[in-house]
């Protein structure tokens, strides 16, 4: 009963918030979008001020009275100062941001102001709080978001909160940047020889994929997340030269399509993880590749944009709306 009521109130509030503070890419904080309310400490402070008033009245002590009035007045001044601290602060954040499952997403927010702004706490509904002590002029901030599932992560409104100057008030704004973060399947390494050579007639181009049986050592490359630990070049790591993986020459051929069918018989999620790894591999080799996922088909291509397109397709595959609400 109470829960339902609360939910309804929340819903009403959210609808009002959508009207009051609509989606945008840049927000400048003003009395339109700033909220202010005493903290628990603020209320405790008020109780103490009231106690001082009683003390002063009962002792008919004018100095204590004066002090209680000064502290009450100070409460108001603090409220205004707390408001002016955030007022005028501009926040800008890109709509999208990508990452892999299991990794932290670090969407960034650019804060800009024409006066120093203190004690800024940025957070999403379910994220840890990212704290910035002082913003002078312009500063970038990153918020850490946990990812657990592939798909689109909508973290909701970004909360900007400050308790400057005395923690008596919390001043906050809830800004809707319409954030939609794409969480790619975590890359899972797979050896090339496990792949089935799928050469079907209707495949266009890059059909002549040949695989030499022997793996021939080719080069060392920087470690990529998801790569097998067995491939790490321990010698180099021990010498402190960095984390590398050994790579062997496979004749991957000119170009090919990556698809679910070429993978061994494992769960769909695992398959997507393998594909995620393969996309990264091909991308790093600067090879030409495409992606076929039952109905979706991405033409053979290369480059950063192409990689992201493929990974996005993997992230969204077989999800009704492709959306995770967090």
């Amino acid at each position: 009963m109470l829960g339902a009521l609360k939910q309804q109130v929340n819903q009403r509030f959210n609808q009002w918030l959508i009207k009051r503070v609509p989606t945008a890419q840049v927000f400048t904080l003003s009395n339109r979008n700033i909220f202010i309310f005493p903290t628990l400490f603020g209320f405790a402070y008020l109780v103490i001020v009231l106690l001082l008033f009683l003390l002063g009245t009962n002792y008919q002590n004018n100095v204590i009275m004066l002090l209680s009035y000064l502290m009450a007045s100070f409460f108001v001044t603090t409220m205004l100062t707390a408001f002016f601290n955030l007022k005028g602060l501009s926040l800008r954040s890109a709509k999208t941001h990508n990452g892999f499952v299991g990794q932290m997403l670090h969407p960034s927010v650019t804060l800009q102001c024409d006066k120093p702004v203190f004690d800024i706490n940025l957070s999403y509904h379910n994220s840890a709080v990212s704290k910035i002590n002082t913003v002078e002029d312009c500063q970038n901030a990153k918020i850490a978001l946990n990812t657990s599932k592939r798909g689109v992560l909508r973290p909701g409104r970004l909360k900007v909160l400050s308790e400057y100057p005395y923690g008596l008030f919390q001043v906050w704004a809830r800004l809707d940047f319409d954030h939609q973060f794409i969480v790619f399947p975590a890359p899972k390494a797979i050896a090339t020889k496990q792949l089935k050579a799928l050469v079907t007639s209707d495949q266009e181009g890059g059909a002549n994929l040949q695989e030499t049986s022997g793996d021939e050592f080719n080069e060392l490359r920087s470690f990529l997340p998801g790569e097998s630990m067995a491939r790490v070049a321990w010698k180099q790591l021990a010498r402190g030269q960095g984390k590398f993986t050994k790579h062997y020459r496979h004749n991957l051929g000119e170009s090919r399509y990556l698809s679910l069918e070429m993978l061994p018989n494992v769960s769909l999620e695992r398959k997507l993880e393998y594909l995620s790894y393969l996309v990264l591999q091909y991308h790093q080799l600067n090879a030409q590749y495409g992606l076929v996922l039952t109905t979706t088909k991405i033409e053979i291509n290369s480059g950063d944009l192409h990689r992201d397109e493929c990974l996005t397709a993997l992230a969204m595959y077989a999800l009704p709306n492709g959306v995770i609400h967090e």
């Binding site: 405790a44 402070y45 009962n58 004066l66 400057y164 100057p165 923690g167």
Partner: protein
């Protein structure tokens, strides 16, 4: 949400907290018992050593106290409070408890909540300090401690901001809070006390209810203020300023007393009987300091209209409650009023009573005088003449009398302070059949030019006598005026002043204030304190009603509300305006200005910088002029780039900027030499 996070104070903040706590507890140094002070000091010392000794195992500088230590502190403090609770009284026991909690709470700061509690208890204690002292200087000290407390809180929310700024910002915010606070103080309706509160049983000061030889001489060593008087219109001459506190009519052979045990003399509760005659009237306001006693002060034959102060039959004023804080009252006095022209026989007998066996020599002298002179006035004159002509001395350090024998004083030592003379005189008068009593109070006062008022200090304490004469009523007689006329005309003779300095020690206001400039400064400081007393401390419910009535007239309640609202709007507007003001954010820093100067110098020798040119690109031009200059220039440019483009922390930035400015100056010098 922040409450859930672990909260750790760094070393600097914890030291700041210790400073706040130390100064807060110091405000109660007079109220707390030595044991409690010791325990709290020990708690601070423990925290300080924890902070000062670096621990390798400790990751943070915050203090984590072993349970045992906390428990020991708690037990010790509780023990002290329980043991002393009887003697402390309720108020001081509470103060002990709060101070103690405040002192040891910082042993365990685990969360932000704990920290907030310390801040709030601190604030409460700062207000409590005013229960005991309310002077403006003390108020300023407390305000400083409050500022320290607020700055500490401020630093939590503005990390990395310069230490000084936390004080300045807090001070600014406090200053912005003053107008609205003053408006509330003046216009917000005063309320009567809601319930009875325990009063501090602090030491009583000033005149006591009995006098034995040596008492007033002791009081004369005190520099404390007794009360202040502001005359509306003319003031009597200093030698007429006999401020009456009480009369003493009981003599038990050793001392004169006001009461017999706890009882007031029967007739004192009657209405005073004054015949107002023509003559000078003085209208004045008395502002008495807290003495924790009931008696108040006025010139003789005062008339006042105050429901909290009663005038007794001996014309002394008495407050219905002990004076625990400054009180303020209006009095009118009549210089030539007849005091109790008719005295009942019973009262006459009462004022002639002396113990039969005390001071036999004086009793005999009294009887002799009664037989020798027909007129009572002649007796009085004779005795005063004796004081004048015989070798009587007036001194702060009279020889000790055996059993307070007035005989010994009058016939042997002949050396004493006002109470010796007054006691002896009153005794002698009674022995000679003249009703007499001792009067204690203060004589004279120090005029403060800046404030146009008189300050009466404890060292002005005085004792004189009153004798009752047929047809004249009570007549004041001051035997001191016969012995040491300058004591009456001046505040205190030079010899006496020197004596005070000798007794009180090398440092004393009296010795100090002989310097004219310092004396003037002292007057100025006291004038400020007086205004504080007049305007703030004595702004009572009645005063407020009266003030608002004259200021606002009809409908004063809503008008007062309007004034408060306007002040509020004014402050909000002021802050809003402050925010809107254009900010000079891109102000060029010192090193940039120095660099600008360098280019001005360069342009003088024909090397100008295009707006698109980077500083380093100009090195070729400089090299053409001088090679070694170019080398210097290159080094200087390296620093310029570091200052301009790398993210430096404040400390490094300052060091490099300093170096850079030095380099620029050196470069400019060399350039000039070319």
């Amino acid at each position: 949400m922040s409450e859930t996070k672990p909260f750790l104070l760094n070393k600097s903040l914890h030291l700041h907290l210790l400073l706040v706590q130390l100064s807060t507890v110091a405000l109660f140094a007079n109220e707390l018992t030595a044991w409690m002070l010791a325990i709290i000091a020990l708690s601070f010392l423990w925290q300080f050593t924890q902070l000062a000794v670096p621990k390798r195992t400790r990751q943070h500088h915050s203090v984590s106290t072993p349970k045992l230590v906390t428990v020991l502190f708690a037990l010790a403090g509780a023990g002290v409070i329980v043991v002393n609770s009887k003697s402390l009284g309720l108020l001081l026991a509470m103060v002990h408890l709060i101070c103690f909690a405040y002192g040891i709470k910082s042993l365990e700061i685990k969360s932000r909540k704990d920290f907030y509690i310390i801040i709030l208890i601190g604030l409460f204690l700062h207000a409590c300090a005013f229960i005991f002292i309310q002077s403006i200087w003390y108020a300023l000290v407390v305000l400083t401690v409050i500022l320290l407390n607020l700055a500490l809180l401020y630093r939590i929310f503005s990390v990395n901001v310069a230490h000084l700024k936390s004080y300045l910002s807090s001070l600014k915010l406090l200053a912005f809070s003053v107008p609205f606070a003053v408006a509330l103080f003046v216009f917000f309706p005063r309320l009567s006390p809601f319930w009875q509160v325990p009063l501090a049983n602090t030491a009583k000061t000033g005149l006591g209810s009995d006098v034995q030889p040596g008492d007033i001489a002791k009081l004369a060593l005190s520099d404390a203020l007794a009360f202040r008087v502001e005359f509306a219109g003319k003031a009597p001459s200093k030698s007429q300023m006999y401020w009456r506190a009480m009369t003493m009519s009981y003599y038990d052979g050793k001392k004169w007393s006001r009461n017999n045990g706890n009882r007031l003399p029967f007739y004192l509760m009657q209405k005073p009987n004054i015949n107002y005659l023509s003559g000078d009237t003085y209208q004045y306001q008395v502002m008495a300091e807290a003495s924790n006693r009931s008696w108040l002060f006025s010139l003789d034959t005062a008339r006042l209209d105050n429901n909290k102060i009663t005038q007794l039959a001996d014309f002394s004023l008495i407050s219905d409650k002990p004076i625990t804080k400054t009180v303020n009252y209006q009095v009118v006095s009549f210089a030539n009023a007849g005091k109790e022209l008719n005295l009942a026989n019973r009262a006459k007998r009462f004022y002639l009573r002396i113990p039969e066996d005390s001071n036999p020599k004086l009793q005999r002298l009294g009887q002799e005088l009664r037989q020798r002179f027909n007129d009572k006035q002649q007796i009085i004159d004779h005795v005063l003449n004796q004081f004048r002509q015989q070798p009587y001395f007036y001194t702060l350090e009279p020889p000790v009398l055996v059993d307070n024998s007035l005989d010994q004083f009058y016939f042997d030592t002949q050396t004493g302070f006002c109470e010796h003379y007054a006691s002896t005189f009153a005794f002698l008068m009674r022995a000679a059949g003249i009703p007499a009593r001792l009067v204690t109070g203060y004589l004279g006062g120090e005029y403060n030019q800046q404030g146009n008022y008189y300050s009466i200090y404890q060292y002005d304490a005085h004792a004189w006598t009153e004798v009752w004469l047929e047809g004249q009523g009570w007549v004041s007689v001051d035997p001191t005026s016969a012995v040491s006329p300058e004591r009456v005309s001046d505040d205190m003779s030079n010899a006496l002043r020197q004596q005070r300095v000798n007794i009180a020690g090398a440092f004393s206001w009296q010795a100090f204030s002989t310097n004219a400039l310092i004396a003037k400064l002292k007057m100025q400081i006291e004038a400020i304190d007086y205004q504080w007393n007049r305007l703030v401390l004595s702004y009572t419910v009645e005063k407020q009603t009266e003030f608002l009535k004259t200021l606002l007239g009809q409908g004063r309640l809503w008008k007062a509300a309007l004034v408060m609202l306007l002040t509020f709007v004014l402050v909000v507007g002021l802050l809003w305006y402050r925010d809107l003001r254009p900010k000079q954010l891109n102000r060029r820093s010192n090193w940039q200005l120095q660099f600008d100067k360098l280019f001005i110098q360069l342009s003088k020798i024909g090397i100008t910088r295009e707006p698109s040119q980077l500083p380093l690109q100009m090195i070729n031009d400089i090299e053409k002029v001088n090679r070694s200059l170019a080398v210097d220039y290159q080094q200087l440019c390296l620093n310029y780039e570091r200052l301009s483009y790398s993210q430096l922390n404040a400390k490094d930035n300052m060091a490099i900027a300093k170096q850079f400015i030095e380099q620029c100056k050196k470069f400019n010098k060399q350039l000039k030499r070319l």
